[in-house]
């Protein structure tokens, strides 16, 4: 794990839980659910200027099986909601969800019959981001919130093998 060179000869004690949380929180791989203009900001978030790699989240996984956090970026129509929920259900636990921007959080300016008024109608959202679209900084902030949540609220004891 690279620890050997840092620690030199010897050992250190920890718990499985904190080790798992430490490694999990520094490798939160996003599932980019780019639905509208927010997705452009999401790309900037992954690009070199904002550099999500600093937080271990540079690998956008287009396969739900390999991802940990779903970033719903953009407005979600009723037709799309079924596809999103299906992808969410395919993501392995533990998983988190970011509702990026006004539309994903509340429906935003799309106050009409075809758009779901907030993806929390069918997804358990962990972090909401305001803005239309939000700056990549806000998405980084949301990612840090997720990391904090993993470190403080998660436990390997919660992982079930059902």
């Amino acid at each position: 794990m690279g620890l050997e060179s840092a620690m030199g000869e010897g050992y250190f004690t920890t718990t499985v839980d904190s080790l798992a949380k430490w490694s999990r929180s520094n490798a939160v791989w996003p599932m980019p659910m780019g639905l509208a203009c927010c997705a452009i900001e999401m790309m900037a978030f992954a690009g070199p200027r904002y550099d999500a790699a600093r937080f271990g989240s540079e690998v956008m996984r287009f396969s739900p099986r390999q991802s940990d956090v779903m970033i719903v970026a953009g407005w979600c129509s009723y037709k799309m909601s079924h596809a999103i929920r299906r992808i969410w259900d395919q993501m392995p636990d533990p998983k988190w969800c970011i509702a990026m921007g006004a539309c994903a959080s509340t429906g935003g300016m799309h106050r009409c019959y075809g758009v779901v008024q907030g993806v929390d109608n069918f997804l358990p959202v962990d972090v909401y981001i305001s803005g239309c679209p939000p700056r990549p900084d806000s998405l980084l902030n949301a990612l840090m919130k997720i990391q904090e949540k993993i470190r403080n609220e998660q436990s390997v004891l919660l992982d079930t093998n059902e």
């Binding site: 009723y78 909601s81 079924h82 999103i84 929920r85 299906r86 259900d89 106050r111 009409c112 019959y113 075809g114 779901v116 008024q117 109608n121 069918f122 997804l123």
Partner: protein, 168 residues
């Protein structure tokens, strides 16, 4: 007297062709709006395409005027590719069982546009080969662009995905 433009010539022609069945012409700007009687619609469009070379049906759409008489209006945007005249042909339909003859046998492009108009306003097009809804679910009970339809939609009328995944 100067030469007539193609548009003026066409307006004279359609006035002569329809007579009293032509209800109103608004010619305030570049493209004339021509309101005609519903029962002459199909015949007029045949004439437009075959005699006047209006071979391009750009768009078909509806409006809800929210009046007690002639509530809905269906508007056909047609272009003559020979004289470059573009007109908006309008017909009014009643609120009770709104229906019109289909124009998809004249212009193929009317097919999907009429389906959209049916989806949004509930105007049926008789003789249409495949009158299904365009955007909304097939079992949807409302017509979203009618004025009485709430802007936000009817809560619960479209199904959201289940939040409890199936146990495999």
């Amino acid at each position: 007297m100067s030469e007539k433009t193609a548009k003026e010539q066409f307006l004279d022609d359609i006035k002569k062709y329809l007579g009293d069945d032509l209800l109103e012409i608004q010619d305030g700007y570049e493209f004339p709006n021509i309101l005609i009687r519903k029962d002459r619609l199909h015949e007029t469009c045949q004439w437009l395409k075959h005699e006047q070379h209006f071979i391009y049906l750009v768009d078909v759409f509806g409006t809800d005027r929210f009046t007690s008489e002639g509530r809905f209006e269906v508007i056909y945007n047609v272009v003559c590719l020979r004289t470059r005249v573009r007109i908006f042909l309008k017909v009014r339909v009643e609120e009770e069982n709104p229906s019109l003859p289909t124009l998809s046998d004249i212009w193929r492009s009317a097919n999907w546009n009429e389906r959209e108009t049916y989806d949004m306003f509930g105007i049926t097009f008789e003789g249409h080969p495949d009158l299904r809804r365009m955007y909304m679910p097939e079992d949807y009970q409302y017509y979203p662009l009618r004025k009485e339809f709430p802007l936000i939609g009817v809560p619960g009328s479209i199904e959201l995905p289940s939040t409890t995944p199936d146990k495999a």
